[in-house]
């Protein structure tokens, strides 16, 4: 009986101490983790697209809701004017979803760029979509329209050789971004004004 009590006591104490310690550490690291996630997951892509902005787009972000999706939108200021936004969309690639950050200049309705954020594509094949800038650079300056496709499907984007599936995924993501942009443009304009100030 004595042993039984001891077992229960030890287990309970151990569990509660563990739970307490973990809760404390969790609390202590929570904000740092969120900052890191933005910094490292979205950060490089945002920086790649919104080069030379006078503000920090990650700090100047806001959220918009369309239907039941909520998106973080990052805003960049050029020459003191907040006119460029970026947000993320995804398409289905070879190994899973390919996340693409798409930047759009709201004055000209042209893409300022696209960059892959997260993916699980094969290194040396699909992963080149992220590593090799020459593929995504094709989107730069493209006007916002209904769809973007690879040349094989009749479009104008040259697929990465050996990774057509990944290339298609990126095109799908950009297409989704463009259509979302067209839908929520008015809302965006309202929000962006706030940042501008």
């Amino acid at each position: 009986m004595n042993e039984m009590v001891k077992m229960v006591v030890v287990l309970t104490v151990l569990s509660s101490v563990a739970g307490g310690v973990l809760a404390a550490i969790n609390k202590g690291t929570a904000s740092q983790i969120e900052a890191q996630q933005l910094e490292f997951v979205k950060g490089p892509a945002i920086k790649a697209i919104l080069t030379g902005s006078s503000n920090n787009p990650i700090e100047d972000r806001f959220k918009i809701k369309e239907g039941d999706v909520e998106k973080s939108v990052f805003v960049a200021k050029y020459d003191g004017k907040a006119n460029t936004i970026a947000f993320e969309e995804s398409g289905k690639g070879f190994g899973g979803d390919v996340g693409v950050m798409v930047g759009i200049n709201m004055d000209t309705d042209k893409l300022v760029g696209a960059a892959v954020t997260v993916h699980t594509e094969t290194p040396g094949m699909g992963a080149r979509a992220k590593d090799d800038p020459s593929f995504v650079s094709q989107f730069k300056g493209m006007p916002v329209k209904d769809s973007v496709t690879v040349t094989k499907d009749g479009g104008q984007i040259n697929a990465i050789s050996g990774a057509t599936i990944t290339s298609r995924a990126v095109c799908v993501a950009v297409t989704k971004a463009m259509s979302l942009y067209q839908k929520v443009k008015p809302k965006l304009q309202q929000e962006i004004q706030k940042v501008g100030k």
């Binding site: 739970g19 973990l22 599936i165």
Partner: protein, 190 residues
């Protein structure tokens, strides 16, 4: 993704052992003989279906609800360990025949990356309950399939004139690599 694709993906394309590298210790440890391989395969299928679904429920209805997501690892391992204990006791008492077959493999499963790994993957991939159930079952089937095919080859290799420094684990790993290469056949089929 439909269920058919999910099944093909779990068994072949994203095979838990050969593509995701989970569960290698039991893979190498129980593949020397066909009988043990079959026993281990059955035990993993049995436990993984239970563990995959229960951890999904625990995660969705307890951890997420109470904001305890950071306790995922600890919660899952406790669930798996107690599940294995429970299954062991249950089988011993009520289905001794099955216990005689699977018994020795059950404790091994507690420290099997494949079981824990699938539970985590079910969450990471944001599966629904039904998807998690199907994925758990077929990841386990994929594990069993790889294990049994491997055992078939290993029984032959055991009798071959393998140079001494390569014998046993070393040649087994190299063979596993070749099996993993063969499984590339299924790439892109989902």
């Amino acid at each position: 993704m439909g269920y058919f694709e999910l099944i093909i993906a779990c068994v072949f394309v994203n095979n838990i052992l050969l593509a995701q590298f989970l569960g290698n210790c039991p893979f190498l440890g129980t593949s020397k003989k066909m009988e043990t391989a079959v026993g281990m395969a059955m035990a993993v299928i049995f436990v993984l279906v239970l563990a995959g679904t229960i951890t999904w429920l625990v995660y969705t209805y307890i951890l997420v609800k109470f904001g305890l997501v950071y306790l995922r690892t600890i919660a899952f391992i406790v669930v798996i360990a107690s599940l294995v204990q429970f299954v062991e006791m249950f089988l011993k008492k009520s289905i001794p025949a099955l216990y005689a077959g699977l018994g020795i493999f059950l404790p091994l499963i507690t420290t099997n990356c494949a079981v824990m790994g699938v539970c985590v993957l079910n969450i990471d991939k944001e599966f629904t309950f039904l998807q998690a159930l199907v994925a758990s079952l077929f990841y386990a089937v994929g594990f069993g399939l790889a294990l049994i095919l491997f055992a078939g080859l290993r029984e032959r290799i055991f009798l071959a004139r393998v140079p001494k420094p390569l014998q046993d684990t070393s040649i087994a790993l190299i063979t596993a690599g070749m099996i993993s290469l063969a499984f590339f056949a299924f790439q892109g089929m989902v």
